[in-house]
């Protein structure tokens, strides 16, 4: 059994260009990735201006993962992730104004201003958080998968976590149950190479994280997380595996975060050159733009128009978040419990 699983644990071939995405898809991906990028840049600005407080973790560099996976998500499939959540929410279609207003702690935010950057939820868009405790979402997401199997509803839970989170014990407790009970879960390890200042090499005995399910017989694959089409293709296979009752699947998305861990990270653990090299050669948005142009799917003018449109969406969200009123003081005491009729 273990041998068979080990064989399934392969390096996905991600080099070849996918044939599946038509023009609409690729342009849509471009638009969404750009939305996340510009939104996060603006969030960083607002943080610098003191309009956003606490911890704020930006998704810049990792956009292709949320967007590529979203493209194969079916309605009702759930998404759950950690505190680096803004990009996933936007990909789920949550209103950028509501996300930005949450970041500034306003009543119009997705959580009425109560949660801030790290813990946002919008279950009606299949988004189950937004979790501040490293690793906690992995068990929770496996529980979403349990609910799906219980209801036999054919839905899959997409459970995101970082390379650092991949060392938490509850991840492996979850893996075991997920495979034992054949739960429809796709685990997505966003390996951006660092957990705060600790590189994967310094924290992990096995650095190929897609192999982490081997002793539970969970198949895994490594994916170029900077290539939206590769993400989409691998995601589709993994989701099909889970949806068809074969149990969980692990995708290790190789990616990179451009910014500091959070806004207060001095970032001395890596070099400027390292960051610049990724930006120049592996940037997911530049990469897609080049493909669009090379394939004649969009010209410069079309891309500029998308850019202008996104800038406006983000500027509006920021202005809304800056000026929207704070929550009413009475909100301090609401939502602690479900109100039950006396």
């Amino acid at each position: 059994m273990a041998r068979a699983a080990a064989k399934q644990t392969t390096k996905a071939k991600t080099a070849k260009a996918p044939a599946t995405s038509d023009k609409e898809d690729l342009l849509g991906f471009y638009r969404q990735m750009l939305l996340i990028r510009r939104f996060e840049e603006r969030a960083g600005q607002l943080y610098g201006m003191g309009l956003i407080g606490g911890f704020c973790h930006l998704y810049i560099g990792q956009e292709a993962i949320a967007v590529g996976m979203q493209s194969i998500k079916q309605p009702g499939d759930q998404i759950i992730t950690a505190y680096r959540a803004h990009g996933h929410m936007l990909a789920c279609g949550v209103d950028p104004k509501a996300v930005m207003a949450e970041l500034t702690g306003r009543a119009a935010g997705v959580a009425k201003g109560k949660s801030g950057s790290m813990h946002m939820f919008q279950p009606k868009r299949d988004f189950y958080g937004g979790h501040g405790i490293v690793g906690a979402q992995v068990s929770l997401g496996t529980g979403l998968g349990l609910a799906n199997r219980y209801r036999k509803n054919g839905k899959v839970a997409f459970v995101y976590f970082g390379d650092g989170a991949a060392n938490q014990g509850q991840v492996y407790e979850s893996f075991n149950m997920a495979e034992l009970w054949r739960l429809p879960v796709v685990y997505l390890i966003e390996n951006n190479q660092y957990a705060m200042g600790t590189s994967v090499e310094r924290s992990s005995a096995e650095t190929h994280l897609y192999k982490r399910g081997a002793s539970f017989n969970i198949p895994g694959a490594e994916v170029d997380g900077m290539d939206v089409s590769a993400v989409r293709e691998a995601g589709a296979k993994a989701a099909e595996h889970a949806r068809s009752g074969k149990g969980p699947f692990i995708l290790e998305m190789k990616t990179y975060r451009y910014r500091g861990h959070s806004m207060s990270d001095p970032g001395k653990y890596r070099t400027r050159e390292e960051i610049d090299a990724v930006r120049q050669h592996r940037d997911p948005i530049d990469h897609l733009q080049a493909r669009l142009e090379a394939a004649g799917l969009a010209d410069d003018a079309a891309l500029k128009a998308i850019d202008a449109e996104i800038r406006k969406v983000v500027a509006d969200a920021a202005e809304f978040a800056r000026t929207a009123p704070e929550p009413d003081p009475s909100e301090l005491y609401t939502d602690v419990y479900v109100e039950t009729a006396a």
Binding site: S115, A195, S203, E326
Partner: protein
């Protein structure tokens, strides 16, 4: 009637498989018994002849230990039979009560002979001690001429660790980002450079695991300092802190020792919201076997952390992120070690006693200044150690001021303030001129929005209001 489970009190004797006159051997099934949970077979435990069936089949609600038949052994007088081999319930279930309540330890410290007039010496070590020596002595005198140096709380903590590591090679530090990153909050700055990676150990993000490793290493005689990036993440590891570190000494009858310090920032930072802003003071202070320290200024941070590292017991050392950057005078003396288990009167006053720990001490001192302008002299007591709690210092103060405000950053219910007030009521009830008041966080998870966060957290203003209220002003 045998008890077939630890909780069984009665059952139905549904069927007899033997009758009077039958010969039975031990192990023979002689009857069936039904409980609400199951039907069980009863075996004879002796050899002999069934002399008489005492409880006919079909009888309900037969109490455990009721004789159900008489068995006559070889050459023996008849004796009640069919008791299971050992009918006494397992130890701990219905066995003798352990009598482990603090108050029933047979120590008079907690039981005043008459209200307000405890007979014991006003000394915390008289309470059931985590260690008999706890709380002996006062803060060391600062030698005349000793320099006072301004040091941040952050550096005071670092200095304490560095000095203890130089002194004792079994002391080491482990935690997330403590080495190469120099500490998530820079408390371990330069330690890697001085002590190297064998003693300043970066861990993966695996709190439950590395805390267990730390406790295990302490069982083997090392003296680990386990840093939690914040105490919010120690919740991943709280099982090892409570079930392993705090209890192993007791469970081993004194054979195991866990000399270990769990430290890191505790409480609300700034806008970090619900999952990153909790005060765990009362959580840990609830647990016998742990020592819990929560210093306010740099001198206490240094002196108490050094004491904590030296202490043979597991110590939970609660720091505060918002205090790390604050500078205070620290005596420039050779070995600045403070006694664990002693509160400190930070400001003398006659009208109301205000207790606080950690960051709230600063709030209480500020409140005292404002109160002074209104003609109220507050005595501010820094609890410093929460377990063992130096409540007699508070009691003595209340005997003088007759009023009490107990402050903490965490939630009020079952909190530190509740404990302080209970102690004062036990020991100085007759001295109180007003019901004691508590100042604490609102009873909700800490919200993110700036206005809601400010409404939720305790403040100087609230301490002033509470103090005025207990003074009927």
């Amino acid at each position: 009637m045998p008890a077939l489970s630890p909780t069984m009190e009665e059952g139905t004797l549904s069927k007899w498989l033997v009758k009077a006159g039958d010969k039975v051997r031990s192990g023979d099934v002689i009857a069936e018994i039904e409980t609400d949970k199951a039907t069980m077979e009863v075996e004879a435990v002796d050899e002999g002849v069934v002399e008489e069936i005492l409880v006919p089949e079909g009888t309900e609600e037969v109490k455990v230990n009721t004789p159900i038949a008489r068995l006559k052994g070889d050459g023996e007088a008849s004796s009640p039979s069919s008791k299971p081999a050992d009918p006494s319930p397992p130890a701990g279930e219905g066995g003798p009560r352990s009598g482990s309540d603090e108050g029933s330890r047979g120590n008079s410290a907690d039981v005043p002979t008459s209200a307000g007039k405890p007979t014991e010496t006003p000394h915390p070590s008289a309470s059931p001690p985590p260690s008999p020596a706890r709380g002996e002595g006062n803060d060391p005198d600062i030698p005349a001429g000793a320099k006072l140096t301004k040091v941040s709380v952050r550096d005071a903590l670092r200095d304490a660790m560095a000095e203890e590591m130089r002194r004792d090679e079994t002391v080491f530090l482990m935690g997330e980002e403590v080495a190469q990153y120099q500490g998530a909050y820079k408390v371990s700055r330069d330690l890697l450079q001085e002590f190297g990676p064998e003693r300043i150990i970066d861990t993966p993000i695996t709190e439950h695991g590395f805390t267990g490793l730390g406790v295990g290493a302490s069982m083997a005689g090392l003296k680990p300092i386990v840093e939690f990036m914040t105490f919010n993440f120690a919740m991943q590891a709280i099982d090892q802190i409570i079930n392993s570190a705090a209890k192993s000494r007791y469970m081993s009858g004194g054979q195991i020792q866990c000399s270990i310090v769990f430290r890191g920032p505790n409480g609300a930072a700034s806008r970090a919201a619900a999952q990153h802003s909790q005060d765990y003071s009362s959580w840990y202070a609830h647990v016998p076997g742990l020592i819990v320290i929560a210093p306010y200024d740099a001198a206490d941070a240094k002196g108490l952390l050094k004491a904590a590292i030296r202490d043979p017991n597991p110590v939970v050392f609660l720091e505060h992120e918002m205090m790390y950057g604050h500078e205070f005078d620290v005596p420039d003396v050779e070995d600045w070690v403070l006694p664990i288990g002693r509160a400190k009167i930070r400001r003398a006053g006659t009208d109301v006693t205000v207790t606080a720990h950690s960051r709230m001490v600063g709030f209480a001192l500020e409140a005292a200044e404002q109160l002074a302008k209104a003609g109220i002299e507050a005595e501010v007591i820094d609890l410093r150690t929460l377990r063992p709690l130096d409540y007699m210092t508070v009691v003595e103060s209340v005997k003088k001021t007759n009023r009490l405000v107990a402050c903490e950053e965490g939630w009020g219910p079952m909190g530190v303030g509740a404990e302080v007030i209970a102690r004062v009521i036990e020991h100085a009830f007759d001295y109180l001129d007003a019901p004691p008041a508590r100042v604490h966080q609102e009873d909700v998870p800490l919200p993110y929005a700036a206005n809601l966060e400010a409404l939720s957290l305790p403040s100087v203003d609230r301490i002033v209001k509470a103090a005025k209220a207990v003074c009927y002003r």
